[in-house]
């Protein structure tokens, strides 16, 4: 893990005990290195995000923690105990599945009470607890529905209630919002987050949506090809990507190549630069200290509500800008002047 991250993010690492840790964990399927030498530490009470493109090993990593897969190498430790060979039903970890995996032959309350039934809790008592849990996820009216009669968001909440009723120490969530539409998704993000705060349970949350990962997590691990390429707070990840891959994947940063930097008179290096850090400035505005100003043709302008996304062709490269609704108006085909502060350029490793 990079030094910078540790220093900058006021994380709980030092103080909170470790909930889950992976040390040199690999899971290879024959030639496919689904998870490859991953080291990770998740702290108690943390909302931990796993972000990465499709096939990068997020789900496999989660399944290793849950016990559905066994590592081909390395150790997994959950609350101090090594869990090699411990089956899922003996781990105090519960999962919210990507497809929810609600039991279609049971109604909502029976689904939620399933874990208690398995433990032999009496019918009355488990109903009571299940209803309580459903209240927590605001589904009290749907107690007797079949899963098939619920909307996506409602199903997701049932899955959540079902996982939570066992009072797990760690809750694993595999793209729980992936199947929901945008509106519902935003709403559920807020709900999940506040639920986690309320319960104080450690959440490990998989997503391939950058926005989601950033907005919800205390810390984020970015996966690529089975490896963890960066771990840090959302701000770290977003503003200080360490590799071109992270810069590219997390939001649509501009990557400034050394050659391009030379052409525009910026310090040489491989830099990332966020679109919203670039301002459009009027023609002939005087230079400021520690800034770079470039001129280019406006290629596209896209209305996005709060901002406009605008693409500028500058000296053989394209720069993306997020232009606020007020200020200089970019017009497609015209020339425009863009300026940013040197501090906003973030150096990356050449990988």
């Amino acid at each position: 893990m990079p030094e910078t991250t540790r220093q900058v993010s006021p994380s709980r690492e030092a103080s909170s005990p470790v909930a889950v840790s992976l040390a040199g964990v690999s899971r290879h399927f024959d030639a496919v290195k689904a998870v490859d030498k991953v080291d990770l530490t998740v702290h108690e009470g943390e909302f931990f995000g796993m972000l990465g493109p499709s096939g990068s090993g997020k789900t496999t990593c989660l399944r290793l923690v849950a016990g559905f897969e066994q590592p081909t190498a390395g150790n997994i430790i959950i609350f101090g105990e090594r869990v090699d060979g411990v089956p899922p039903y003996r781990r105090s970890v519960n999962t919210v599945f990507q497809d929810y995996a609600l039991f279609p032959h049971m109604n909502v309350v029976d689904n939620v009470a399933y874990g208690l039934m398995i433990r032999g809790v009496g019918k009355k008592e488990r109903r009571r607890q299940a209803e309580e849990m459903l209240e927590l996820v605001r589904l009290s009216e749907f107690v007797h529905r079949e899963p098939g009669q619920l909307s996506g968001g409602q199903r997701q909440r049932v899955a959540l209630a079902r996982a939570l009723i066992n009072r797990p120490k760690v809750l694993l969530l595999d793209e729980p919002l992936g199947a929901l539409d945008l509106k519902l998704r935003e709403q559920m993000q807020v709900e999940l987050k506040s639920l986690q705060r309320e319960l104080g349970i450690t959440f490990v949350f998989v997503t391939h949506d950058q926005g989601e990962a950033l907005s919800m997590s205390d810390r984020v691990a970015v996966f690529n090809e089975g490896r963890v390429v960066q771990v840090g707070s959302p701000v770290d990840i977003y503003e200080r990507p360490e590799t071109r891959f992270v810069a590219d994947f997390v939001g649509s940063s501009n990557i400034l190549e050394p050659a391009f930097c030379e052409r525009i008179g910026a310090p040489s290096g491989l830099w990332s630069l966020r679109p919203e850090k670039i301002r459009l400035v009027p023609e002939g505005l005087t230079d400021e200290a520690d800034t770079i100003t470039v001129t280019g043709e406006v290629r596209h302008v896209q209305y996005q509500g709060a901002t406009r996304r605008c693409v500028l062709a500058v000296k053989g490269a394209e720069l993306a800008l997020a232009v606020p609704a007020v200020g200089v108006e970019p017009v497609v085909g015209r020339m425009a002047h863009a300026r940013w502060h040197l501090d906003d350029m973030h150096g990356m490793k050449h990988v």
């Binding site: 849950a66 039991f103 874990g115 398995i118």
Partner: protein
């Protein structure tokens, strides 16, 4: 191809084109054309035949000449209610139920393995292994069992080689299901039915199990269920429609078969034999028709339940 001028491309008429337009405007005509032939065949010819059979069951037979008296009467049904006939019905239904339960039990592991674990060529192998006996000659398979079960047959040969003959003898000395020989006992008949219909049970169970997402099983384990509990609470209930679908076959086929119990059995009739004997040997078509109503009624009830359980999707 100058579609730029007109908004509607009215090119290419032809009879089919115009007919197609008609279908568009009157979808009911198309539906009628699609449904007509199969409905005529199944709905009119087949159901008509069943109704004709129903009518026959209300005729009676002249006892001496054996000719059918075409007058409405309940006489045949009253005869059907004789204890000896009720025995036949009871015997057959019990056999069908036993065969169904047993084949579900044997089929399940095969279907489960094929659905959950078999991949690639192993899966193909399973498919072929299940289908092959199904499509091999039914008659020859029944006869194979006659050879296996005969007193001087393969089974006893093998059993005596390993010194288990007393076991078979003990089995045969059981009341009701026993007999002088496996071929002459209910045990034999049961084994033959079980063998014959087993593939019909495997296939729908496999289909049902293949529709159970793995995540469902993971979820159950995740929530603390041991594998046995997962089986009872999740896998079995979800496979149930498949079992019911399979049992439609095992049940119906047992109800109707007259060849297998004739070849391996104790001369106590099953419904299929009763129908066959009354129709063919005795020429008592009304009685045969009345007997046929038994499996029809049983299967109607069965199908109704199956439909409600969603078993048709697993069919």
């Amino acid at each position: 191809m100058n579609t730029r001028d007109a908004s509607l491309t009215l090119f290419r008429g032809g009879v089919l084109g115009r007919l197609s337009d008609l279908f568009y405007r009157r979808p009911a005509i198309l539906l009628a054309l699609l449904l007509g032939p199969p409905l005529l065949w199944i709905g009119v010819v087949y159901v008509g035949s069943l109704l004709a059979l129903l009518v026959q069951s209300f005729y009676s037979i002249d006892e001496f000449s054996g000719r059918i008296v075409r007058e409405f009467t309940f006489k045949t049904y009253l005869e059907l209610l004789r204890p000896s006939n009720l025995d036949i019905v009871l015997r057959t239904v019990l056999m069908a139920a036993t065969v169904t339960v047993a084949s579900a039990m044997i089929a399940f592991p095969i279907a489960y393995y094929a659905a959950r674990y078999a991949r690639g060529w192993v899966k193909g192998l399973f498919f072929i292994a299940v289908m092959l006996p199904l499509w091999s000659s039914y008659l020859v398979r029944v006869y194979a069992w006659k050879l296996i079960l005969a007193n001087e047959g393969v089974l006893n040969w093998g059993v005596s080689k390993v010194g288990l003959s007393p076991l078979v003898e003990a089995l045969l000395s059981l009341p009701v299901i026993g007999g002088p020989s496996l071929t002459f006992s209910y045990i034999g008949t049961f084994l033959v039915f079980l063998y014959l219909w087993l593939p019909f049970m495997i296939l729908p169970i496999q289909a049902a199990l293949e529709r159970v997402p793995v995540s469902m099983l993971d979820a159950s384990g995740d929530l603390g269920a041991r594998p046995g509990q997962t089986f009872r609470k999740i896998i079995f209930p979800l496979a149930l429609p498949g079992i019911v679908a399979g049992s439609i076959f095992t049940f119906s086929l047992t109800l109707g078969d007259y060849i297998a119990p004739q070849i391996v059995g104790s001369s106590r009739l099953f419904i299929g034999q009763a129908v066959y004997v009354h129709q063919g040997t005795a020429g008592n078509l009304p009685m045969a028709a009345a007997f046929s109503m038994v499996p029809i009624v049983v299967m109607a009830i069965y199908l109704w339940i199956a439909k409600r359980m969603g078993a048709f999707n697993a069919l």
